[in-house]
């Protein structure tokens, strides 16, 4: 039933001719009884909007482009880094076998166990005076329990690099613990190479060439110091920030 209260919701369907036959008949009857409604319906097509062509000028800001890889910049950066790496003067590399042999610890053949009696643990330990006593005296053992043969200094067999011995016995090496001299240092400071590596990796990351940056970082995995911290930072960027 079409009434004054609900005719508006049927009016458009009436004009669009989409009402079923029964409802359309009801609406016709209602319009005949209410001429003001019939007048309302007349000429409604005039009030149809005509779209004006409008161009939105900000489309350029809306497009989403895939991240561009500035490969020419990255390639140039990588080439420069590798060239710098190749041009850095460095000393003759010592063969790995020689390093192993030079740092191998040999057993002290001059050390013998002379005391037949068992070790008494209640005896007060004897302090070790590295600057005077032989370095082979064991801490916590009774004095005299261990002795070395005077003709063959036991520490002479402990042939190790200076750094390793210093790490083991600390400062003040006894005079007999003089290690074999190390070869001269390389002409170029390793820190310089590390810095080149770190800078190159950062440049590559900035330009989106992740794979090349990873290769450089792997090259520099053995370096230390500030460059190592920068490389670690680059690794973090790779893991966390880059859309791989």
């Amino acid at each position: 039933m079409i009434t004054k209260e609900n005719y508006e919701q049927h009016a458009l369907d009436y004009l669009d001719d989409t009402l079923d036959a029964a409802t359309r008949a009801d609406f016709d009857a209602f319009a005949r009884l209410h001429p003001e409604v019939a007048a309302e319906l007349e000429g409604l097509e005039e009030a149809r909007l005509h779209p004006r062509p409008v161009a939105y000028g900000g489309k350029g800001r809306l497009y989403r482009r895939a991240p561009r890889r500035r490969w020419w910049v990255a390639t140039g950066t990588a080439a420069a880094a590798l060239l710098a790496w190749a041009l850095i003067p460095r000393g003759e590399a010592e063969p790995a076998g020689e390093v192993v042999e030079r740092t191998r610890l040999a057993a002290a053949a001059g050390i013998v166990w002379q005391a037949e009696r068992p070790v008494h643990r209640d005896v007060a330990p004897v302090a070790v005076h590295r600057d005077a006593a032989p370095a082979t005296r064991a801490v916590g053992r009774p004095a005299g329990a261990l002795s070395s043969r005077p003709t063959e200094p036991p520490v002479a067999a402990m042939d190790a690099p200076e750094g390793l011995l210093a790490a083991v016995v600390g400062e003040g090496l006894p005079a007999r613990l003089s290690p074999r001299p190390l070869p001269p240092a390389p002409a170029a400071a390793p820190g310089r190479e590390s810095a080149v590596l770190a800078l190159s990796a950062e440049l590559l990351l900035d330009n989106g060439v992740v794979s090349a940056a990873i290769t450089l970082l792997e090259l520099g995995s053995e370096i230390a110091g500030e460059a190592r911290r920068r490389l670690a930072s680059s690794w973090t960027r790779i893991k966390n920030n880059l859309p791989l």
Partner: protein
């Protein structure tokens, strides 16, 4: 929906969304902001939006965003306030389209919205109801009232030279 489909949506719908919002708020700057915001929301919701739903998503997002802004600025006018706005627009309109747009500007925002979605974008009543969160009956009533009001405006001799 993927990046390519999103960019195609920019090509196909950016002008329409902008025209729709521009017609409602009469502010180019606000229309640009709302349009940009609608596409940003679409981009953020990209995996969850089907390609064929992008248009409705954009119009609905833009419309509700505009309503939020207008409400915040206390400019949103209820449908029943049509009479209070009558006579607010003055001026001489020589072009039929200008007259229609002037008549449109007199309508409450909700009537403008449904009328533009119907006439400009050719949406069905059901789709308009979805976009505007109204019922289909409400949409039909608002469009009918809007057309009646615009027809009366067009037939007023003092508005047209």
């Amino acid at each position: 929906m993927n990046r390519e489909e999103y960019n195609r949506s920019v090509d196909r719908f950016a002008d329409n969304v902008f025209r729709f919002i521009r017609g409602l708020c009469r502010s180019r700057a606000l229309a640009e902001d709302v349009t940009q915001d609608a596409f940003l929301r679409l981009w953020e919701a990209l995996p969850a939006v089907d390609g064929d739903k992008a248009r409705a998503f954009l119009f609905a997002t833009a419309y509700h965003r505009l309503v939020d802004v207008l409400r915040r600025e206390k400019k949103f006018v209820a449908a029943e306030a049509l009479e209070s706005r009558a006579g607010a627009c003055a001026g001489v309109h020589v072009d039929l389209r200008e007259v229609l747009e002037a008549a449109l500007a007199r309508l409450p925002v909700v009537q403008q919205t449904v009328l533009m979605l119907r006439d400009y974008e050719d949406y069905s009543y059901r789709e308009i109801a979805t976009i505007t969160s109204l019922t289909e009956v409400q949409v039909k009533v608002y469009i009918f009232r809007a057309r009646v009001a615009m027809k009366e405006f067009l037939r007023s001799p003092d508005k047209i030279i």
